[in-house]
């Protein structure tokens, strides 16, 4: 079996193993082992990918495997990775691994919880390895649907409402994506021989007629944009994240929202560059609004999860913003930002879950001075905050700077203005991060019940440190990641430039 299919198989095997687990303890350990293997496999994938590149393998897609799945419609199971998908797979396995440990104490229907969680993960992995649009969409749905159960059953607060809202809005996005994909499929043969294909590369080589692009680009982009929390279709994010259990928030904000950015790039921009070039300005405005709007929206929120959700709107807006800039530097920044934001926001949600588990409130003004009581969580929270506001040495800085430098390569006034607008978000981000840190962690202890809280236990430390190490590693030595992504972006960008 090829190495990439293992990424789908291992979660499925883990899920089957969990079905035979007898108690919580076994469930936990089976999940943890499965995801540890997955993490190891991801590390192996990264190393073998880099090794192949060092050996001088310049093929765009590595580790490809192709088999016919449904021949009459020309649907294949085609997998393969380039630098971008390798990076996304690494991100996913880190977040899932951390997520398992963050939900170590999930006692209610624990088997079912871990099964849904890992099923979701397998969908995400499948999405990132697929080169066939149909398979890609299939895995996309596999990733999105379990979210409803995870929030509806294990959530808190108005969980049914939030789960319904989140699922329906994402399904609305899916519907657009499906129409878009079918449109791409039926326009994938410009020769008129009805020899349609779902294969990403073949479509890109053949090209899609510009009239079709004009119609299907906005659909596809918007469809993926909903998942990427594009203004004004972002409102599922605050409610959904606030109701979701810790690990689900982590996975959702950390990984699932990246499906939006990744899909928008891989499908909408890559396959339909002319229409993207024509219509980019509309979406650039929307994303620039997302960036600033999310940041300002976060300033006045009182619930920790809402703050983080709005912050995600802002940061994911930056991802889409960079994708629409359509030059190599900005796209590179977009991918790094996806990874960086995935790690940061997962860390935030993990910490919020841990704090909530102790204080039983998420309202910041009911807490205060926690740094003194739970120093480990406090320090990690501060570091996560600093990463979020773009402190050099942590991943956020690398991503944001690459995006800004990339966006600034456009010389016209429109791009200049929106870029400068987007850069202002770094100040606003500093305001809301420091506000939370100031109220939540510093100052005197507000609630005397909190004096008896205990600091993080080992699985919480493991979960947060895994993410923290990844954030710091990218922040301190970004070159290998950036070069890996750049290598794969180069032919894509060159092709786009050649077409335009």
């Amino acid at each position: 079996m090829d190495i990439l299919s293992l990424f789908v198989v291992i979660p499925v095997v883990t899920v089957i193993a969990i079905m035979f687990a007898k108690n919580l303890e076994q469930t936990r350990w089976i999940s943890a082992t499965g995801m540890l293997i997955q993490l190891g496999l991801a590390a192996f994938l990264v190393f073998s990918y880099l090794h192949e590149r060092n050996m001088g393998n310049t093929a765009h897609w590595l580790f490809t495997y192709d088999t016919v799945w449904f021949s009459s419609l020309n649907i294949h199971y085609t997998v393969g990775v380039d630098g971008i998908s390798v990076a996304m797979i690494a991100l996913t396995s880190i977040v899932v691994f951390a997520g398992i440990f963050a939900s170590w104490e999930m006692k209610y229907l624990s088997r079912e919880f871990f099964i849904s969680l890992i099923m979701l993960a397998s969908g995400v992995f499948g999405f990132f390895i697929s080169l066939d649009l149909f398979t890609m969409f299939l895995f996309y749905e596999v990733a999105v649907i379990p979210m409803y159960l995870l929030i509806g059953i294990w959530g808190s607060g108005p969980k049914e409402y939030s789960a319904m809202k989140l699922t329906l809005m994402l399904m609305g996005g899916s519907a657009l994506i499906m129409v878009g994909l079918l449109g791409i499929y039926f326009n994938s043969d410009p020769t008129g021989a009805m020899n349609f294909t779902f294969n990403l590369n073949e479509i890109a080589e053949r090209g899609i007629p510009i009239e079709a692009q004009r119609f299907f680009f906005p659909m596809t982009f918007l469809g993926f944009g909903v998942l990427g929390a594009l203004f004004p279709f972002h409102t599922w994010s605050p409610d959904g994240h606030a109701s979701a259990p810790t690990a689900v928030s982590m996975l959702h904000a950390g990984v699932l929202m990246k499906l939006g950015g990744y899909g928008a790039f891989r499908v909408a921009i890559y396959l339909m560059p002319q229409a993207a070039h024509e219509q980019a300005w509309i979406f650039i405005i929307l994303t620039a609004v997302s960036v600033v709007y999310g940041a300002f929206g976060a300033i006045v929120q009182k619930d920790l999860k809402y703050i983080n959700a709005y912050s995600s709107v802002s940061h994911c807006g930056l991802v889409l913003f960079a994708i629409l800039m359509m030059n190599q530097t900005a796209l590179n920044g977009a991918v790094i930002q996806m990874i960086s934001h995935g790690l940061m926001t997962a860390l935030f949600f993990a910490l919020i879950g841990m704090i909530y588990g102790r204080t039983h409130t998420r309202l910041i003004n009911e807490m205060g001075g926690l740094m003194k009581i739970i120093p480990f969580l406090g320090v990690v929270y501060v570091i996560a905050g600093l990463a979020s506001l773009g402190l050099p040495g942590l991943s956020g800085f690398v991503a944001e700077m690459t995006i800004f430098v990339g966006a600034y390569q456009h010389t016209d006034t429109f791009h200049r203005v929106v870029t400068i607008m987007a850069t202002t978000s770094i100040v606003v981000t500093a305001v809301y991060i420091l506000r939370v840190v100031g109220i939540l962690l510093l100052g005197p202890v507000r609630n005397e019940h909190h004096f008896s809280l205990t600091d993080a236990v080992w699985w919480e430390r493991l979960s947060t440190l895994t993410l923290l190490v990844a954030i710091a590693a990218i922040g301190i030595a970004p070159l290998w990641l950036s070069d890996m992504i750049n290598f794969s972006l180069k032919p894509i960008v060159e092709r786009i430039v050649a077409i335009l």
């Binding site: 809202k165 300002f296 006045v300 530097t329 001075g369 773009g390 690459t402 430098v405 100052g443």
Partner: protein
Amino acid sequence: MTNYSYTLLIPLIPLTIFLLTGLSGHRFKPIYSGLAGTMGLTMAAFLSYITAIRYFFIDGPVNGMYPQIKAISTVWLRFTDTLHIDMGILIDPISVMMLVVVTTVSLMAHIYSLGYMKGERGFARFYSFLSLFSFSMLGLVLATNIFQMYIFWELVGVSSFLLIGFYYEKPSAVAASKKAFIVTRFADLGFLIGILMLSFTTDTFDFISLTSSTGPAIASSAGTAFMGLSVISWALILIFIGGAGKSAMFPLHIWLPDAMEGPTPVSALIHAATMVVAGVYLVARLFPAYALTAPDALHVVAWVGGFSSLFAAVIALTQIDIKRVLAFSTMSQIGYMMMALGVSGYGDHEGLGYMASMFHLFTHAMFKALLFLGAGSIIHAVHSNNMTDMGGLRKYLPITHITFLIACLTIAGIPPLSGFWSKDEILAAALHHNPVLFAIGFGVAGLTAFYMFRLYYNIFWGHDRHYHHTPHESPLVMTIPLMFLALAAIFSGFLPFSHMVTSDLKPFEAHTDLAVAIPSVLIALAGIGVATVMYRKPNTLPDRLASSIKVLYTASLRKFWIDEIYQFVTKKILFAGVSRPIAWFDRHVIDATMNLVGWVVVTTSSKIKGFQSGQVQQYAAVFISSVILLVLVFVYLFSN
């Protein structure tokens, strides 16, 4: 050429100490962290001195020009083929000078804190933060390119944030740290946009090519104009905004007085001697670009500097908190340095202002650190920051008294102390360039002398106050840095700066201009004289004077209400005017629209659900009538 790659150790030693003490400091006795930090800084300082001696005195100028050496350079992040952030070490006169300043003051602060911070909770944390700061500041001064500088610029910002908020259980400290970070962050936005503009125009981040007089920056200066200024001018003005934020120039100065919430050694190190002069250093780094391509930007620098120095001096006249007096004095002196840069030209004697600015930066670091550490020693003795709680302390704190007096005389500009030499050069440069700025500088010199001696007399003379216990001199570990810095403050004025640090890297001869020197000493003496009359012995003169110019006095005491203006802008406009409406809009318009879609679907379906009544016959009736209808339709359609 000498190999300077060992200079990599200078920032790396503090970084190692930071990681060690930060990760495992709490496992050991706190004093070990302190000792480790101090040892590390001693090594770094030692290496810096060796570097300075080798660079200036052993190697000296090559072909009459100091070389700019990239000791180390490695690509850190690649943006495009030409634009990449390098991490490296640049050795040139100003970076070597800054190495000496930073490591010296930092070492003094480290040693001093062993006594000052003794027994504090978080002693180990304090030292690890100090090491982090030293690392970042050293990385900043050694940066080979503007983006590396920006990176360390942010890192010094965050270390400053952490150290101001060191007493994190105190709400005022938390607020001050937050304010410092956000205000400088706001300024850094300007810096960032400036970098983007500059790098896009010149296609490089590298300082050597940006400032080389034949480089792309200069060549492309005739770029498109926007509102009458070239792109390069705009870029450099924006970069200056970043510098103004860090260096507390008007109107971005508001964080500096509040930053005094931090422990006093931190104020001495970060908010007097090193981090706050980063803005001056930044402008000096890019000075050839400013001087050769954007004289407009340089005018901005000069006027902002001049105005800030006057503004801060006026506020310093009335402050009660001794650390705040010193903070405003710092702002005023940095304004001096900025002004000197702004009035400077490029090359030879034209570059006198540049040399003077760097000279003043050096001497100021020494005497201002001394003042702050002295103030720390006083606060340590009387447990208060307010000069109203002090008086007659010269008997109790002899060493502090003498060193503080030396520092006051130095800052007032009394020859032959170091402050005189550097201030004299600044005034001389200003006189050549712009008489108005000279007048401002001249007036500020008098004001400086006055408020420093007001401070001095209020602390050390006058009546004894009611002290909780008899104030006693600080331990040796605190007074040794005072004495060392006092020596530095006295003698650093004799360094031949015009032979070492110049705008075009070529040494030149500078002469003391008696036409400037004599009046400036006279006005300093006048300031001291007035202060002596008013504050040497308790009398009613200050109060009467204050009530006779009530409006001015209140304005100065309330710092011209700048804080209140900021409060208004942030609380009323940004919070209440932007954020809250956005949050409301999000909940009640955008989200409501989504909910409306859901509501429409639900309502429609509940309206039409009556069709499924459960009555079989009703279904059949619909079915049959529809069939009949269809039959009729088809008959109609196909009959003809």
